[in-house]
């Protein structure tokens, strides 16, 4: 009886930390406002403690894969005494994996994984562990698309597993790609390419390589973003002089201009319910976030208190947060803000964030010492992982979702 109670309390610990974190938010925000000064601060908008887990039975590459998967999902690998969960596995033929509580009395599952590469089997085991611990579907079978620079003004598109493994090259144009994004059903990519010596928007079907032009008006055509229902596309087009936000049917027809500013707009993204498009505009002098209905109307400013500029917005799939990049004279920083606007949380150095389907993992790129790497960040625990399996200079990563 006492044992059960003890276990219950242990399992509750992360939940308690989360509750405490939430309780602290209002106090913190109040302190900010009363001081009368807005500065870059780390507010507890989305915070939880890492979950301690002990892993045994795997070695070498299999252990590395499991460690990567668990850590990027908000787990800390610890000794068995400090762990809330024990993951015990063996790799004789395929992978056999088990997840228990600390005492070993409660077994959450005990499964064998067969018929796949070791990498795929470990990912499947890790996904089951994360499902038990967080209740969420893991992101380990998702794909990412990204660009690899071959020169200062040349790059090519690649697709790989979420951790950079099993890369496949998608374009061989010897040209410049910008604003890469996934199409509906994960069967196509949309991007801006300079291959015809003008920045035009293309759709490329992944299984056939078939490529069609979505927008090639004179001037700039870039930043495609497909609506959640897959029927519409938002884009930045400069056919009327200044770059403005446009929306069209998914094939590029029925083009409609949404903004008519003298300033430049950039980087549209959709709210998950499809009711709004969020974008960055310099209409007020510096880059700020705005939302507008795809049917048109008056744009509404998204307040990003605490930072100067805001570019490259990306709406979380659960609708709660908008990730974006803020630019200082020295560096780029990844930020999140509640979707309705408010106090910004600055997370890490980097640019061009994109949410994973789980609404907690961000991928972005970071330039350090002339090398550009992809980085993943677990937002609640602030854990980051640099994807080291990609050799070249990678940027513009986006999740299939």
């Amino acid at each position: 009886m006492i044992n059960i109670k003890k276990r219950f309390i242990r399992l509750l610990n992360p939940a308690l930390a989360l509750v405490l974190g939430i309780l602290l938010i209002p106090l913190h925000s109040f302190a900010q406002e009363s001081s009368g000064e807005l500065q870059i601060t780390r507010t507890a908008t989305m915070t939880s403690a890492p979950i301690p887990i002990h892993v045994s039975g795997l070695a070498g590459e299999a252990f590395k894969i499991l460690k990567f998967d668990l850590e990027i999902s908000g787990c800390d690998l610890v000794s068995s005494e400090k762990a809330l969960y024990i993951a015990q596995a063996s790799s004789d033929s395929g992978i056999t994996g088990k997840l228990t509580d600390q005492t070993g009395e409660i077994t959450f599952f005990h499964r064998s994984y067969k018929n796949g590469t070791d990498r795929a089997l470990v990912h499947a085991y890790a996904a089951d562990i994360i499902k038990v611990i967080t209740g969420q579907d893991a992101i380990f079978n998702q794909k990412i698309a990204y660009c690899i620079n071959t020169d200062l003004d040349k790059n090519e598109i690649f697709i790989s597993d979420f951790d950079g493994h099993n890369p496949q090259q998608v374009t061989r144009d010897g040209s410049l790609i910008r604003a890469l994004t996934w199409g509906p059903d994960k069967s196509s990519l949309f991007y801006c390419s300079y291959r015809a010596l003008n920045p035009d928007i293309y759709k490329q079907e992944l299984y056939t390589g078939k490529r069609t032009i979505i927008a090639n008006y004179l001037g700039l055509n870039t930043s495609p973003s497909v609506s959640p229902d897959g029927t519409q596309i938002a884009m930045i087009i400069s056919r009327s002089g200044s770059p403005d936000l446009y929306v069209a049917d998914i094939d590029g027809s029925n083009l409609k201009r949404l903004t008519k500013t003298q300033a430049d707009e950039s980087s549209p993204c959709w709210s998950p319910d499809g009711k709004y498009i969020c974008y960055s505009s310099r209409a007020s002098g510096s880059a700020k976030l705005y939302i507008i209905s795809p049917d048109g109307g008056t744009p509404k400013r998204i307040i990003t208190s605490g930072v100067g500029s805001a570019t490259e917005p990306n709406w979380s799939p659960d609708g709660k947060y908008i990730a974006f990049t803020t630019t200082t004279r020295r560096s780029f920083q990844i930020c999140i803000v509640p979707a309705e606007g408010g106090m910004v949380e600055v997370l890490a150095e980097g640019e061009a964030p994109c949410w994973a389907p789980n609404s907690r993992t961000l991928i972005f790129h970071r330039k350090k010492d002339k090398k550009s790497s992809l980085v993943m960040l677990d937002v609640p625990t602030k854990k980051t992982k640099t994807i080291t399996s990609i050799a070249g200079n990678a940027s513009q990563a986006c999740w299939s979702r």
């Binding site: 059903d185 001037g219 700039l220 200044s242 950039s266």
Partner: protein, 244 residues
């Protein structure tokens, strides 16, 4: 005031020199601007095994379990184009105009064709590059002499056209810089319009931060990289237009 007179004189001299090498006789070795609407041609493939070794093409990826196949619509690149192009080149007083928010596909096509098949001369206006303040798209008053010189040149050489390239320093995010560079090119175009140039004779392109004038990380390089460059597009040759 004296300085202005001197610089105006200097510009006149430069223009006079340039006049002698006018664009009716394009210099040998100038680069032909490819059509703005080329066809991908053999890039289209349905055989996934072809993807890896063909050049300038797309590489199909192999389907995996969790991806479903989907065929989308769009404008196929290999759709034959209207062959009735190239015989009636627009005259300078008949440059295809662009009206805001009301651009028919025909008008768009005429605009595109106006810029096709023109030799590209990067040297003609090399000394006339204009620069921008940090995060600004405003043309500096000190650059207006350059703008006026370019407008005047094009108003004499009525069969030429202009390409304006907008560039940024590297301290902006990539997509933001793409838009910022485009806005800078548009500002340069607006200034040319005020200087008396028919704005429909120029097209704009943004390169963001990918083509720096000076590839370095210091304020001098950043200042040099925030710029608009002007590329002279020579007279359209019927052969070049027909070939495309």
């Amino acid at each position: 005031m004296k300085k202005t007179v001197v610089s105006l004189l200097a510009i006149t001299v430069v223009m006079a020199v340039s006049l002698t090498s006018g664009c009716k006789n394009p210099k040998p070795g100038v680069v032909q601007i490819p059509t703005m609407n080329p066809r991908i041609g053999q890039a289209q493939t349905t055989d996934p095994t072809l993807g890896s070794d063909s050049e300038n093409t797309t590489s199909p990826i192999s389907p995996s379990n969790n991806w479903s196949s989907n065929s989308g619509s769009g404008i196929p690149l290999d759709t034959p184009e209207d062959p009735s192009t190239g015989n009636n080149l627009p005259q300078v007083d008949n440059v295809p105009a662009i009206e805001e928010d009301d651009i028919s596909p025909e008008a768009e096509k005429a605009r595109r064709e106006y810029f096709m098949g023109r030799p590209m001369d990067r040297d003609a206006f090399k000394a006339y590059t204009i620069h921008f303040d940090f995060d600004s798209t405003l043309v500096r008053p000190s650059d207006m002499a350059n703008i006026q010189a370019i407008a005047d040149y094009l108003n004499i050489h009525t069969d030429c056209a202009l390409l304006i390239e907008g560039h940024c320093d590297e301290r902006g995010t990539e997509e933001y810089n793409q838009s910022l560079g485009q806005r800078r090119a548009a500002s340069a175009l607006e200034a040319l319009g005020k200087a008396g140039l028919n704005k429909n004779r120029a097209q704009t392109i943004s390169y963001g931060e990918v083509r720096p004038a000076i590839n370095a990380q210091n304020n001098e390089a950043y200042a040099a990289n925030r710029r608009a460059e002007f590329v002279l597009l020579g007279a359209q040759t019927p052969e070049a237009t027909l070939a495309e």
